[in-house]
């Protein structure tokens, strides 16, 4: 019903030939669109609801996640070549959902290395499906972000590693 009224308003606005139409920008379909029952069923809020801190703000540096990356010590010096490659890969493969300056479809990667271990980040990039199935934090993030499952972009270990290096520069 609400939608229908809004739709009528938009149509009315179009008929009146009002230029610009900026007022319609408030209709953030991502925020208000996800209230259908079937979606709720698939992403029933469980653990996250009971946690006092949202998953995106939790610090879980001891958790290495689930996946092929078990132990990944980082060189204290950031490798700028890797950063450059990582930034480019991030732009192509990730920016549809992740923005460095704000929450979008998924969380912003800015400051992620202060919240998550390198292994967790790598595992999340390389096998998000497994992570969401078996890692508590990944599961909670899925719920917090409205059931928008992270896409597996089929990156290699080295590509994911470059992106991680780029994340280290996002303070």
């Amino acid at each position: 019903m609400k939608h229908r009224i809004k739709f009528l308003l938009i149509v009315a606005a179009a008929i009146q030939l009002s230029c610009g139409g900026k007022e319609e920008k408030k209709d953030d379909s991502i925020k208000i669109g996800g209230a259908k029952q079937e979606v709720k069923k698939e992403t029933s809020p469980t653990a996250a609801a009971t946690d006092e801190v949202p998953a995106s703000e939790r610090i879980t540096l001891d958790n290495k996640g689930v996946g092929e990356v078990k132990d990944l010590p980082l060189d204290p010096v950031i490798n700028q070549e890797m950063v450059a490659r990582g930034a480019e890969l991030f732009k192509t493969n990730c920016t549809a959902c992740h923005k460095i300056d704000k929450r979008f479809i998924g969380p912003s990667p800015t400051g992620i290395t202060k919240r998550r271990s390198p292994e967790w980040i790598m595992n999340m990039i390389l096998d998000p499906q497994l992570m969401v199935a078996e890692d508590r934090c990944a599961k909670d993030l899925l719920v917090e972000f409205n059931g928008a499952a992270m896409a597996n972009q089929n990156l290699t270990f080295d590509q994911a590693r470059d992106i991680l290096e780029y994340f280290r520069t996002l303070e």
């Binding site: 938009i10 259908k36 920016t95």
Partner: protein
């Protein structure tokens, strides 16, 4: 198949048999048979088939992919027909694939698939198929399972003795069924005789990319060239075509084309003609035909109109073309795995005629001719005959081979598959089909190395085989286990369209090479959006180009304003997914075309000409994630006179 599951199945079958025995002795035999047949075709959930089978769709214009022995259909590959499911033939990128010298043709009659070969064995790179009605040959990639190339065949009509390949895929061959004036001209139909020509086209295949090139066209007498197969092994370098209507009748063909007791198999030494052509032989004839190539990097097809064809008069290459008399309007023309025997399936006869390649060569060397037809030497029937299979069936059409010295022939009129032995010509077994079988297929059954475990019989008539669905029904097919001495009918399954032949191969030949995604960093489409920051809308006069990207589950941008009635709006959509089996769909309300289905890493373009002022939604048609229902957007359409500027956004950006 998993062994333990197999044993469990066997135990279950035994238990059933036991129960059957208790219920009545009459049922026990049938119960045992049917349960063992069930085991043979049962592919348990999560397990995969042993063979791929590619069945032509006939009048569907497409190619269907099945698994054997389960008979499950995996995919329909659009080839000659528009396919709204994926947008093939509707999207801007794929429309050129259906271009011909007659303009855009949305359909054809697809007949004979043939898998590429190396050294006479299936190599699994490409599959070729002919369009019968508006003569064309298509090449389909067996890594993407997409049509990559379609070439039109000039001077041809009813492109039926096609698309068979030589044993190193040097050529794909396309022969005309209907002879026509060459070049086409305005002339009385009843002057057909000696004026019409039958063009047999040899298209070379580039060994690396598979691109086809119409190398030469042999202009034969005006008979009907029905089917063909290549020589292999010792007969490599030759191609064999069955003919009928050697009477050259042009009306009431049903009667008038069946007057001669014998028609011919035309034996063509293509290597000799190739050499003649390579040395400058042949005559260039002006013509016009389309050559359409789809580029995997740009995800786009382009059409080139070709203006010339090299024709060859068979009389100019003495020793290259001979006629082998073959009884009763032969249909199928099949060559055994050794290349020694050429089978003429005389469709108005009960018998099969088998010619010997060695005898043919000896007769040619001894110049033992029995007259000539339009200057082409006719060999003596008795001199080339290897044997006759006295089958007792009626209406033999096609023969395939199991690689163990046996041949299997379909009999249309008596509805059966007959197994017979090469060299003894003795019939070993016969089994009914349901009903009126046309083609049959053994994976690799027309190559040097058949995989003789199953034969698939493709029937023309279904009648009572399935639950009735009104007057029109899908055609039935049957699978027989041919691993033993006797054939065993093990399964019955519906097909799509009307299969006229099929090609099969072991699953492992293709499965590992099957492409999972298109890589985004290899996408060279001129309208691709390599990253979402490049998403934008541009106006060029009344054309509006929307550079859009998608990923689960939104379009970038999803709100667009400044479009006007009378605009031509192009949605160029790049799917940013890089995960296997995550396509996104696109559809726009009121669009006079089909949806698009865009594979991961691919760019496709859909055109929309908005006719009404308003705010119009578009959405993703492929259920892509839990938020699929949210994957939509709006385009604001203003009156043609409006001066609203183009703008686009996603969220607050």
């Amino acid at each position: 198949m998993n062994k333990s599951k197999y044993y469990l199945g066997a135990i279950a079958a035994l238990a059933l048999l036991f129960v059957g025995c208790q219920q009545g002795a009459n049922n026990s035999g049938k119960g045992a048979l049917s349960s063992s047949a069930a085991e043979k075709v049962y592919v348990a959930p999560g397990e995969q088939d042993e063979y791929y089978a590619f069945l032509s769709g006939g009048y569907s214009g497409n190619l269907t992919v099945y698994g054997l022995p389960s008979g499950r259909m995996f995919k329909e590959i659009p080839v000659f027909s528009q396919f709204p499911t994926s947008g093939y033939g509707y999207s801007e990128e794929t429309k050129p694939m259906l271009n011909t010298s007659f303009g855009f043709i949305p359909w054809d009659d697809a007949h004979h698939p043939d898998i590429s070969q190396t050294n006479g064995e299936l190599d699994g790179r490409w599959i070729f198929i002919n369009g019968n009605n508006t003569p064309r040959i298509a090449r389909i990639s067996l890594s993407t399972f997409e049509t990559e190339e379609i070439i039109e065949i000039p001077n041809s009509a009813g492109n039926h003795s096609s698309s068979f390949i030589t044993e190193n895929t040097e050529y794909v061959v396309a022969g005309t069924r209907f002879s026509v004036p060459v070049p086409q001209r305005d002339m009385p139909i009843n002057e057909y005789k000696s004026n019409f020509k039958g063009a047999l086209s040899f298209l070379s295949v580039d060994p690396e990319h598979g691109h086809m090139d119409l190398k030469f066209q042999l202009l034969m007498p005006g008979f009907n060239y029905d089917l063909s197969h290549p020589g292999r092994g010792k007969s490599h370098g030759w191609f064999f075509f069955t003919t009928y209507n050697t009477e050259e009748a042009n009306s009431l063909m049903e009667v008038n084309s069946s007057q001669n007791d014998k028609d011919f198999i035309a034996a063509i030494n293509w290597k000799m003609i190739e050499e003649y052509v390579n040395n400058g032989g042949g005559t260039k004839m002006p013509t016009n035909y389309a050559h359409n190539i789809y580029d995997e990097a740009t995800h786009t097809g382009t059409t080139t109109m070709k203006k010339e064809v090299l024709t060859v008069d068979p009389l100019d290459v003495p020793g290259a073309v001979f006629f082998l008399p073959t009884p009763k309007s032969p249909h199928g023309c099949d060559v055994d795995p050794s290349g020694q025997y050429i089978i003429g399936n005389g469709k108005l006869s009960a018998d099969l005629t088998v010619h010997s390649f060695d005898k043919m060569i000896a007769a040619i060397n001894d110049k033992k001719f029995d007259g000539e037809a339009y200057g082409i030497p006719i060999l003596k029937f008795e001199d080339v005959l290897a044997g006759t299979v006295k089958s007792g069936g009626l209406g033999p059409l096609h023969t395939e081979f199991d690689g163990k010295g046996n041949a299997y022939t379909t009999f249309f009129i008596s509805s059966e598959v007959v197994k017979w032995e090469l060299e003894t010509w003795e019939v070993i077994d016969r089994k009914p089909t349901y009903y009126s079988v046309g083609h049959l297929m053994i994976p690799g059954g027309n190559s040097r190395k058949p995989f003789g475990k199953y034969v698939v019989a493709m029937n023309k008539i279904t009648k009572d085989r399935y639950l009735p669905t009104g007057p029109e029904m899908e055609h039935s097919a049957q699978i027989y286990d041919i691993s033993g001495e006797k054939m065993e009918l093990i399964y019955d399954f519906p097909t799509h369209g009307e299969p006229h032949y099929a090609a099969g191969c072991p699953a492992e030949l293709l499965a590992a090479n099957s492409k999972k995604i298109y890589r985004l960093d290899e996408n060279k489409h001129p309208y691709a959006v390599p990253n979402p920051a490049d998403a934008r809308v541009e106006r060029k006069g009344n054309e509006v180009h929307i550079y859009m990207s998608t990923i689960r589950s939104h379009f970038t941008p999803d709100n667009i304003e400044g479009v006007k009635v009378g605009d031509k709006v192009y949605f160029h959509i790049t799917n940013h997914e890089q995960d296997f089996d995550v396509p996104h769909g696109f559809s726009m309300i009121g669009q006079n075309t089909s949806e698009l289905l865009i594979m991961p890493g691919q760019t496709k373009t859909s055109i929309w000409e908005p006719k009404k002022v308003g705010v119009w939604p578009f959405y993703c048609t492929d259920f892509c994630s839990a938020l699929h229902q949210e994957m939509q957007g709006y385009v604001r359409v203003s009156p043609a006179s409006s001066n609203i500027e183009l703008s686009w956004s996603l969220g607050d950006d």
